[in-house]
């Protein structure tokens, strides 16, 4: 069963979109592509002012204690405008892990700062293309981390990372504070995502979860982040769809709007199908937060989110023809963001396997 948004949720959707629409500046976003180390600071300022940073932080730590449905709505608005800092999803992920751990001191140290937007945390799980490797090369021994994590989203500006590492033959989730010396910027096609390689090199870290609890916690965190990202992808895909639709109405060729040609209108109608399937899956997954069937629903949301945004960005450019491939039009902002969101949190191949494994377990 899915859900209908309630009035408060509808208001979050409307208000977040209104605020972000008002500050949308395509030239600024284009400028951010040009080098590493800068991000959409206006967006983050707005996120802090609007209280979005505290949305999913438990109330006892200064947050609003809301859930995935509300986070998803913010992410959808951000995605629609190619806005968003990587911390939106990253902070949500680290908040989930911290909130469920038993280390009171760490909770007290970080959760209030995450809620107020004063601290930024990232999730560093992936190694060598595996979103959650069974035998990570990053090691945790004697309270210290060694090894590297490549291209961690948001890492260039992060205060701490929650790291998936190996400790004495068991996986662990540990929290390590970061400093500038540990992070090396990765020049990317989507630079405002602030990718950096983190070298731990003996950095101190504290254990949050060990063994099976670490694996379950990490997987749940990934799935939750994937649902946030799926909303962001769906928001972006819908914008790309609408841009293509508007252009097909306005652009004339052979004496008629190009949107009258079935090759164009059918391709736009197909995008509508992908966007609506992604929307339905995203809302459905968010509504199952903390319940049975959540992981399978998150996988489905992730897969349809990736497919919708990649396809909509690709086809919107194609439908625009020549103007679509210019720097200045900025449609490539969606192409880039669609790809970066599809790679962060693990590619579709990973989520396909995970989904089938989950369905097999359910059937058994």
């Amino acid at each position: 069963m899915s859900i209908l948004y309630d009035e408060a949720q509808e208001a979050i959707a409307k208000e977040s979109r209104r605020v972000l629409d008002a500050q949308f500046d395509k030239d600024k976003l284009l400028g951010l592509l040009d080098g590493t180390g800068r991000f959409d600071e206006a967006f983050w300022k707005t996120a802090v002012e609007q209280g979005w940073t505290g949305l999913a932080v438990p109330e006892e730590y200064g947050g609003l204690g809301l859930g995935l449905l509300e986070m998803g709505l913010i992410a959808q608005s951000a995605g629609a405008l190619c806005a968003g800092a990587p911390f939106l999803t990253g902070n949500y992920g680290v908040t989930q892990i911290l909130a469920s751990c038993t280390n009171g001191a760490l909770k007290q140290a970080w959760l209030p700062r995450l809620a107020s937007g004063d601290a930024i945390g990232v999730v560093a799980f992936e190694e060598a293309g595996a979103p959650l490797p069974s035998d990570p090369a990053v090691k945790y021994e004697g309270g210290r981390l060694s090894g590297k994590k490549a291209a961690v989203p948001g890492a260039l500006k992060a205060d701490f990372a929650i790291v998936w590492a190996m400790s004495g033959g068991k996986p662990v989730l540990v929290l390590a504070e970061l400093n500038a010396a540990m992070s090396r910027a990765v020049d990317s096609f989507d630079n405002s995502r602030l990718y950096a390689e983190i070298s731990f090199d003996g950095a101190e870290a504290a254990v949050l979860f060990e063994g099976e609890a670490a694996r379950c916690g990490a997987l749940d965190c990934l799935a939750r982040m994937a649902v946030v990202a799926a909303h962001e992808q769906m928001g972006g895909a819908e914008t790309a769809l609408l841009l293509a639709r508007d252009y097909a109405l306005e652009r004339k060729a052979f004496g008629q709007p190009i949107g009258a040609f079935q090759s164009i209108k059918h391709s736009i109608a197909e995008l509508y199908g992908l966007v609506e399937v992604a929307r339905a899956n995203s809302i459905h997954a968010a509504s199952l937060e903390g319940q049975g069937g959540f992981l399978a629903a998150a996988c489905a949301a992730r897969l349809s989110g990736c497919e919708a945004y990649d396809t909509a960005a690709r086809d919107a450019v194609q439908i625009h023809g020549g103007i679509g491939v210019t720097w200045q039009l900025g449609l490539h902002l969606h192409m880039r963001r669609a790809r970066s969101l599809s790679i962060e949190l693990g590619n579709a191949l990973f989520w396909e396997d995970l989904l089938v494994t989950e369905l097999e377990a359910k059937a058994a």
Partner: protein, 401 residues
């Protein structure tokens, strides 16, 4: 009004109680005629159980419940495999139209009850050899004759016409005006002199469709439904009538879990096929697509329950699910190797891949071809323009053929 949950339980209990009598085991090996006879008995039993005409008005013999109650019943009935297919169109479109338009309420009530009990069947005579997607291009003529009408021409693709007692028909009453404006809608007695229904086989040898010929068939003006020249509007109303249709994310074919069972059994490169990445990808993609349709369906249900109009995304169901079914059926046949060549004409669409595959194209064409559905999404939902239509505004009899 009975609560949905209570109704769901009541319907489920009754449906299960008659499973042995009307289910797939009872139907196996029956001829078409025997299966139809069983279907008529099923409909009568359903009527007697107080579960027929769920959202039809009480004054016409229905239960007067909501469209949601109907969906709740249909969703439980669908997987039972009962012989109700002969009555779907009859009760889905012609019967609601006569309830809405016909003046003689007593006559309508008799027809509705007879149709609900499976004693009478109605068909819908719309498509023609040269008018499928372009319905308004139809050529069957209705000419005024004294106080009545005379119909001549041919219909095609008419489901269950050979079993039908009545039909609703759209015909061209005035060829001198543009094509949408010259049509008139009637009900017709399928046993009347001059009506000939000839069933023919589809590619899976199922016999559902007919070509129907009309040779000087006489109608009274009382059989007219809607104004003269207003036939296209009534035809559109007929097609829009079923807001409350149960949809099936599996496209009325096998489920993804049925595919997974197969993929566990068959071997690929010395391992169960389900361990192969290509197979896993197909499972995951189809599951994601169908779970999206299922969530759309759930949300539409909640919207209707809340008294809201369900969103237009509901129109994606048929488009997406039949394509998914068609391709997954091909893959399922592939991974069985030589065993995938077998064909059991008695097997059901939901539990046999070859049967599902062979009838899948019909699903993608009947009731709105994929291409027309895409046009509708593009035009009605997204506001894109219609195609260039050279016949627009031109009197029908001046359109070049």
């Amino acid at each position: 009004m009975i609560e949905l949950d209570e109704f769901r339980a009541k319907a489920g209990e009754w449906l299960h109680s008659v499973k042995a009598e009307f289910g797939p085991d009872a139907r196996r090996g029956l001829s078409d005629e025997q299966d139809l006879a069983l279907g008529r008995r099923y409909m009568a039993a359903r009527y007697d159980a107080g579960l027929a005409g769920i959202n039809m008005p009480v004054e016409f013999g229905g239960l007067g419940l909501s469209g949601l109650h109907k969906i709740v019943f249909d969703e439980q009935e669908m997987p039972m495999g009962f012989p109700s297919v002969y009555f779907g169109i009859s009760l889905g479109m012609p019967i609601p139209i006569i309830m809405r338009y016909c003046e003689d309420k007593q006559w309508v009530r008799e027809r509705v009850i007879a149709a609900l009990r499976g004693e009478e069947i109605w068909c819908q005579l719309f498509s023609e050899p040269s008018a499928g997607s372009d319905l308004a291009g139809l050529r069957t003529k209705a000419e005024q004759d004294g106080n009545g009408w005379v119909v001549n021409g041919q219909k095609l693709w008419t489901s269950h016409a050979h079993h039908s007692d009545y039909g609703v028909i759209v015909a061209r009453s005035d060829p001198s005006v543009p094509k949408h404006k010259g049509l008139t809608y009637f009900w017709i007695d399928m046993r009347a002199p001059g009506v000939t229904a000839r069933p023919f086989e589809l590619l899976d040898q199922s016999v559902v469709c007919n070509e129907v010929f009309f040779d000087d068939v006489k109608l009274t003006d009382g059989q007219r439904i809607g104004p003269v020249g207003g036939g296209f509007g009534v035809a559109m109303a007929t097609l829009m009538i079923e807001r409350y249709v149960a949809s099936d994310p599996d496209g009325y074919g096998p489920s993804v879990s049925f595919f997974m069972d197969l993929a566990k059994d068959v071997m690929l490169n010395g391992k169960p096929a389900i361990e192969d990445g290509r197979i896993r990808s197909a499972i995951a993609r189809n599951y994601a697509m169908r779970s999206g349709l299922d969530a759309i369906r759930s949300r539409a249900f909640l919207q209707m329950e809340a008294g809201l109009e369900p969103g237009p995304e509901g129109s994606l169901g048929k488009l997406v699910s039949f394509r998914s079914r068609q391709k997954l059926s091909e893959l399922a046949m592939d991974i069985q190797g030589a065993a995938g060549l077998a064909y059991d004409s008695e097997a059901t669409t939901t539990h046999d891949w070859a049967v599902s595959w062979l009838s899948a194209p019909t699903g993608r064409i009947a009731g709105g071809a994929d291409e027309m559905l895409l046009n509708t999404i593009a035009e009605r939902i997204l506001g894109l323009p219609q195609d260039h239509r050279p016949d627009k505004g031109i009197p029908f009899n001046e359109i070049p053929v």
